[in-house]
């Protein structure tokens, strides 16, 4: 989470802290039950077009997605049935003037109160997932992600490793599995969007703002990432990859890249300044792997 929004409900102030956290625990328990049930029944609940993803928070987001979708299908289905019933049942058949009824207070109260309850339920579920997602657990692995027109720079502080690549050079961010990875996200010029589909997650890279969040991958593999916020001419080509590897592979990768990365960064930086042609997808560089 960003510096500016670091105030989370449980850690707000010393007094009232226990009260608040107790209330939160209670809310969490109430809301977590159906979500946990959903998670257990993961294979039977439809995906509604989403996927569980490769991080812990992508999974809780996915379950929240399923919960919202179940609500949407029920509410939407019910409302559609009402519309279709009215459309087919009350087609004009005669010149009759129907009863001019205009108010039905109990009915009106029902369709006001029920949506309020649904909305509060959705909000509670949202808060449970959100608080998990914006939590900043302690970690030893930090990656500084810097977005620029039109590429990405991944710096591993203290490791002397820098990965940088623009547009179709497909820079790869390597991170260890089952580890909390702290991301410091910045931008050098305009606003960019750090988006990894398999993580069900995106965050703006803002000039002048340090955005921080934690990723904890639970699957190894290589995942597509892309800039999602319009950032100028080659926005469409501002792609990258995230490679989640085992912790030992990660350590090996760090040592083998520590020496070459400095030269590589310099080379890419020169390219960034001089390149003015449209980069094509065929000029892929494997150098960062």
């Amino acid at each position: 989470m960003s510096k500016v929004f670091s105030v989370e409900p449980p850690a707000l102030s010393p007094q009232g802290d226990s009260d608040r956290s107790r209330r939160w625990r209670r809310v969490r328990r109430i809301v977590a039950l159906p979500i946990a049930a959903l998670a257990l029944a993961g294979c039977t609940v439809p995906t509604f077009g989403a996927s569980p993803g490769a991080t812990t928070s992508s999974r809780s987001t996915y379950h929240l997605w399923q919960g919202f979708s179940i609500g949407a299908v029920i509410v939407g289905g019910f409302t559609t049935l009402l519309i279709l019933w009215a459309v087919f049942k009350y087609r004009r058949k005669s010149d009759r003037i129907p009863k001019q009824s205009q108010y039905h207070i109990p009915l009106e109260m029902t369709y006001t109160i029920v949506p309020v309850i649904i909305v509060l339920g959705l909000f509670a579920a949202t808060m449970v997932v959100e608080n998990k997602e914006v939590a900043n657990p302690k970690t030893n692995v930090t990656i500084n992600v810097n977005a620029f027109q039109w590429g990405w720079k991944f710096t591993y502080p203290g490791q002397n490793v820098v990965v940088v690549g623009q547009t179709t050079q497909d820079p790869v961010m390597v991170m260890p599995v089952n580890t909390n990875v702290h991301i410091n996200l910045t931008s050098s010029d305009v606003i960019h969007g750090f988006y990894v589909h398999a993580f069900n997650f995106s965050r703006y890279a803002l000039p002048g703002v340090l955005n921080q969040f934690t990723l904890r991958a639970v699957n190894t593999g290589t995942f597509d990432g892309q800039c999602t916020q319009l950032c100028g001419l080659y926005h469409s080509l501002m792609v990258f990859r995230v490679k989640v590897v085992s912790q030992s592979e990660y350590a090996a990768w760090l040592t083998s890249n520590a020496s070459v990365s400095a030269a590589l960064a310099a080379q890419a930086a020169t390219k960034q300044q001089t390149s003015s042609n449209v980069p094509t997808r065929s000029t892929k560089s494997e150098g960062n792997n």
Partner: protein
């Protein structure tokens, strides 16, 4: 039968204005008129032309996205295309159509007024709108092309370093002009509705369409000046060396987003509420029933207006610099009054006698499409789900469901009120063909985009690499866009085919409100006579004296009383 019950009441114009108004005709009339109906007609025609221009841009966008790695247009052209598509549709079509076109024509007549409160200001609004539109579109003809930073113009992409061209300045200038046009229309609508209602037309006897336009006008007055101020700041940043939105000079880029969305989210309702109003009128008239839960609906609209001012940062969840829970709950809460409206519409049809004219079909099409767009909007109010879908095609699909629902509403409004404005009906068969192309086209166009977003396709990309399923879904969406294009052609064909063919008469739909009491088209200053106004349906009450609206549970007792209450002058 009506003669005995309810003789016409003389209005002030009876004394001097019974004959036709004499004035310039033809193009001179159009150029010089301050008559709200002529200005409204100019607005309507201009807005529909903008819809066609914006739609043509959309078709090129869809053509480019039909195959992966397509190169029909360049990256630079693509950025101009979607920027101008969004800008034309939002700033130059939907908005002006919502509060400038039909509102201008119908609102004064619905409340029994001879014109808008400030007729010359009204004319100024139109001319500012037209000049603003031409200014913005002229960007296509300058070096460097039209604006290309998206219709939201996020700083610092919109500064003079990243977007140096004159197209961007023309975009800002055009938007300033149309913004002032909107503010003046807002002033005019407020003054008209507060001060020019006919005797007997109390606030709670105003038709829902007029109510919605009043709330729209208030939102315009609250939101548009903020945008105007923001645009001036942006222009100063670009040309006068200020650093309001640039980090280098100590400015804050996110401030632009706050300003833009503080206008931008009320704007969503500024666009939507007038169409909600149109659909409400249409559903009530073609179901032959009063609006179900009229007062509840008014309060729902008021609370939508109030809540809409406190939800802007849900567009900024992924910036990481806004308080998530507050904007989440406010955004979720908007679903409640919107849901109330949905049930009001269904309740109005319930146990009615629903006549499926083209206008009513469009209204039902609106209900379904708006339901889809509304439900998918609820996901976006939840920050974790917004992190997941933000800036992907899911969002694009969501707001296209909403806006296409508004287009269905707009078409319904044109079929419903067109006969009142022109005196002639449109052909119903062609109208129904148009409806089915528009309705099916909309779903074929938007539903694949939801899936594309869930599969990770970002918005505003000119090309996409070969991802499984992306190309096929894009092709389906393109087919939908073509169907929508065909529906627009059908609409044009209908206008030409039906030209002065089917005289409408004063009240072809057996409608409820005052505009159907006067002639089609209405005379200069609108009325020779007015009926008694004792409910929000004066024309219906006049034509069906035994069928006034019933209170809950008191239907039979009240019906007779009302009958006697009508005074005989």
């Amino acid at each position: 039968m009506t003669d005995v019950l309810d003789p016409p009441i003389a209005t002030e114009h009876d004394d001097h204005d019974h004959e036709e108004h004499h004035g310039p005709t033809g193009i001179l009339k159009w150029m010089t008129s301050t008559d709200h109906k002529v200005i409204g007609m100019s607005y309507t025609v201009t807005a529909v032309i903008m819809m066609v221009i914006g739609g043509a841009l959309a078709e090129v966008i869809r053509a480019q996205l039909t195959t992966s790695n397509n190169s029909l247009v360049s990256f630079a052209q693509y950025n101009e295309l979607f920027t101008m598509h969004g800008s034309v549709m939002i700033y130059l079509f939907v908005g002006p159509f919502a509060f400038g076109a039909l509102a201008n024509i119908i609102v004064p007549i619905q409340i029994g007024a001879p014109d808008m409160a400030f007729p010359r200001l009204n004319a100024l609004s139109y001319w500012l709108y037209l000049t603003g539109s031409i200014t913005m579109l002229s960007g296509f003809f300058v070096a460097g092309g039209a604006a290309n930073f998206g219709w939201v113009a996020y700083a610092p992409l919109s500064n003079s370093i990243n977007t140096p061209g004159a197209g961007a300045d023309l975009w800002i200038g055009g938007l300033l002009l149309t913004g002032f046009s909107a503010i003046f229309t807002g002033v005019n609508l407020c003054a008209t509705i507060f001060y020019l209602r006919a005797p007997g037309m109390t606030m709670f006897r105003m038709p829902i369409f007029t109510w919605n336009l009043l709330i729209t006008a208030i939102l315009i007055l609250l939101a548009f000046p903020v945008l105007t101020a923001g645009l001036i700041m942006l222009y100063c940043d670009r040309h006068f060396g200020t650093h309001i939105f640039s980090v280098q000079g100590g400015g804050v880029p996110v401030l632009w987003q706050h300003i833009f969305w503080f206008w931008g989210h009320p704007e969503v309702y500024i666009l939507a509420l007038p169409f909600f109003g149109m659909v409400t009128e249409i559903i009530a008239v073609f179901s032959r029933k009063p609006v179900f839960g009229y007062k509840g609906m008014v309060f729902a609209t008021l609370s939508i207006g109030a809540l809409s001012l406190g939800v802007w940062a849900h567009h900024m969840f992924t910036t990481g610099v806004v308080l998530l829970p507050f904007f989440s709950i406010m955004s979720l809460l908007i679903a409640v009054p919107t849901g109330i409206k949905m049930f009001n519409w269904i309740g109005t049809m319930w146990r009615g006698e629903v006549w499926f004219s083209t206008a009513m079909l469009m209204a039902v099409g609106f209900l379904i499409t708006f339901l889809i767009g509304g439900l998918t909007g609820i996901y976006l109010a939840s920050p974790p789900l917004d992190f997941f879908t933000h800036d992907t095609y899911f969002v694009v699909a969501h707001f296209h469901s909403i806006v296409m629902a508004l287009v269905l509403g707009a078409m319904g409004g044109l079929y419903y009120w067109g006969p009142k404005i022109t005196g002639y009906l449109l052909n119903e068969t062609i109208g129904k063909v148009q409806f089915w192309f528009l309705f099916i086209g909309t779903q074929v166009f938007t539903l694949p985009m939801y899936l594309l977003g869930l599969r990770g396709m970002p918005r505003r990309v000119a090309t996409y690499a070969l991802h499984p399923g992306w190309q096929f879904l894009n092709q389906v969406s393109t087919v939908g866009a073509i169907l929508i294009g065909i529906s627009t052609v059908a609409f044009m064909v209908n206008i030409v085919y039906s030209w002065k063919k089917y005289p409408a008469g004063d009240n072809p739909w057996d409608a409820h409100t005052l505009e159907w009491f006067t002639t089609s088209p209405p005379p200069h200053h609108n009325f020779y006579r007015l009926p008694q106004i004792r409910s929000e349906r004066p024309t219906w009450d006049y034509n069906h004296p035994g069928h006034t609206a019933a209170e809950h549970g008191h239907h039979h007792e009240h019906q007779g009383e009302h009958h006697d209450e009508v005074p005989v002058a």
